[in-house]
Amino acid sequence: MSTINKTATVPAPRESGHHNGPLLEVKNLHVEFHTRDGVAKAVNGVNYSVDAGETLAVLGESGSGKSVTAQAIMGILDMPPGRIPQGEILFRGEDMLKMSDEERRKIRGRKIAMIFQDALSSLNPVLSVGYQLGEMFRVHQGLSKKDAKLKAIELMDKVKIPAAKARVGDYPHMFSGGMRQRIMIAMALALEPDLIIADEPTTALDVTVQAQVMDLLAELQREYNMGLILITHDLGVVADVADKIAVMYAGRIVEQAPVHELYARPAHPYTRGLLDSIPRLDQKGQELYAIKGLPPNLLKVPTGCAFNPRCPKATDLCRTEVPALAPVTEQDGADLPGRKSACHFWKETIHG
């Protein structure tokens, strides 16, 4: 769906306050993990931002740092071994990394909520879903147990769980995978947060259910005008719902672009590789493209561009110099708003 379509249904921004910048802005974020074998640099200077009502898709393989960035935003990184040596995470202009634990706790769940990949293990197995949903209202709004239960039923209706009233006392293992993920979504939505981070919300689901869950998420996002960070490795999921995309590799953003432009004209060989490895009906019978090599070892990231050992176009320059994330322009130098690439040869990639 296009952005134009979206703005038509957008209600007035909620409690935007006096802050005029983006809802969330990540600036030069670094995250490293101290392990027995050395320091793993999981995130190496990531910048991105999300506005209210906007969907940012963060794309990357496992180990690209996409989930770690999200966990840093959420404040659920295991520290130690995790550490944030530098960077800022501005929520409504305020750096969350400088807040007290209690201030951050009050933002979690209420202002920023998260949807996890595996709903079965992410929900507490010994507490009823009604209890786990109602807990949000009891803790953050001081509602009574009874009122919280009513709210929980309301939420379950909202995410289209059939017979919500009868099932509110059921336990997570009694639901199907799709229904469980709906409960995760309901939990994230409970307090109508400004921003939702969805970490591979559909990866664990059947293909048929994936679309339903994604549609529900997109629909609710529009309804509440929330910002959404969608973390995924699945290009198919992204195309329908995202406004813009950030592609991550080895802890850095290697390309940033509005969604359709990225698909039409990738400006980084890694993105190109990802797109080429999607099976296509019109190329039936041909050998499927695959990016050669393995994702980098975060303990020993290659020098220069981290992608160089796997890149078909790599030169000596790529092996020594780290390319900066720089604006991408048309051939005539005209601006391409929102587009950036971290490749020495972006021109050749996008126009070649």
Partner: protein, 309 residues
């Protein structure tokens, strides 16, 4: 659930019969003979011996003896001691309350201190306090209760003179403290280790991360989300532990001279009073079987994933 309980109770019957029969048959294989003991050193008359044995039913086959014993037991008749002529029920009535009191003390001590230590250590796995606890419990486990018992007796009664070495005839609650601690210490070590391991494992669970992401206060995350899950194996252990504590009392009661079941069974064993040994053993086995059923039911309450068909 109701059907499950009934089925479990029915399954318990053969186990109860089997276990008590084992003890019964071992008692009757004992080399000593209470009837001869009854006659003391007087001139020994085989005919009289045989007639007494017949009178007591001791000449019948073992299975028949056991069947009639079980039949009497069902009517609440535990039999009588051969030598003293005392009804076994009287002996049990005198000894059981004492041991139950001791067991309850020991159990309370085990739960409070064991779970407490386990939580303290489990919240910080591999910290100094965690390693300290693991070492302490290892030392506790490696001390058989008679070793710990004498150590405590020596320290508290003889060195510091805080208590008397043995428990007086009509014990006050404070007199039972030391025996209860000795009796409970081994279980305490297991409970602490189990709690610790369980907490440390659950601490890494995905739902804990969710609880943090929900913005719950730490007290709630630990108290509700972590504890509910971590206590499941501990409760299982504690249930089976009650029966264990009751037999452990044999040693503890001996050291501190407590007039409970342990002392009664030990004494009866040496006087070859089969009825007393089997009677007390049957009761202990019954307590043990019932508590393990109770634990299984509690398990279902704590863990909704367990379903009983």
């Amino acid at each position: 659930m109701g059907r499950y309980v009934v089925r479990r109770l029915l399954q318990m019957i053969p186990v109860f019969i089997g276990s008590t029969f084992l003890i019964f048959s071992m008692m009757y294989a004992l080399p000593g003979d209470p009837v001869r003991a009854l006659m003391g050193d007087q001139s020994f008359d085989p005919e009289r011996l045989a007639s007494i044995r017949a009178e007591l039913g001791l000449d019948k086959p073992l299975l028949l003896q056991y069947a009639s014993y079980l039949g009497n037991l069902l009517q609440g008749d535990f039999g009588t001691e051969i030598v003293s002529g005392r009804p076994v029920a009287d002996i049990i009535a005198a000894a059981f309350p004492v041991t139950i009191q001791l067991t309850i003390f020991a159990f309370t001590f085990t739960v409070l201190v064991g779970v407490g230590l386990g939580v303290v250590a489990g919240l910080r796995p591999n910290s100094i306090r965690d390693r300290g606890l693991l070492t302490l419990t290892l030392v506790l486990i490696s001390m058989p209760s008679f070793v710990l018992g004498f150590l405590m007796q020596y320290l508290f009664a003889f060195q510091f003179e805080l208590t008397t070495a043995t428990v007086p005839e009509d014990p006050a609650i404070t007199d039972m403290m030391l025996p209860a601690i000795v009796l409970g210490s081994l279980s305490l070590a297991y409970v602490a280790r189990l709690t610790r391991t369980s907490m440390a494992e659950n601490l890494r669970a995905d739902y804990m991360r969710t609880a943090v992401a929900k913005g719950l206060p730490r007290r709630r995350i630990v108290g509700v989300h972590l504890m509910r899950n971590s206590m499941i194996p501990v409760v299982t252990f504690l249930g089976t532990d009650i029966g264990t504590l009751m037999t452990g009392a044999i040693v503890t009661e001996g050291i501190f001279n407590v007039k409970g079941v342990g002392g009664a069974i030990y004494e009866a064993l040496f006087r070859r009073e089969g009825a007393t040994v089997v009677g007390i053993a049957s009761l202990i086995i019954l307590v043990y079987l019932l508590t393990s059923l109770l634990v299984d039911l509690l398990y279902a309450v704590l863990d909704p994933r367990i379903r009983y068909a």
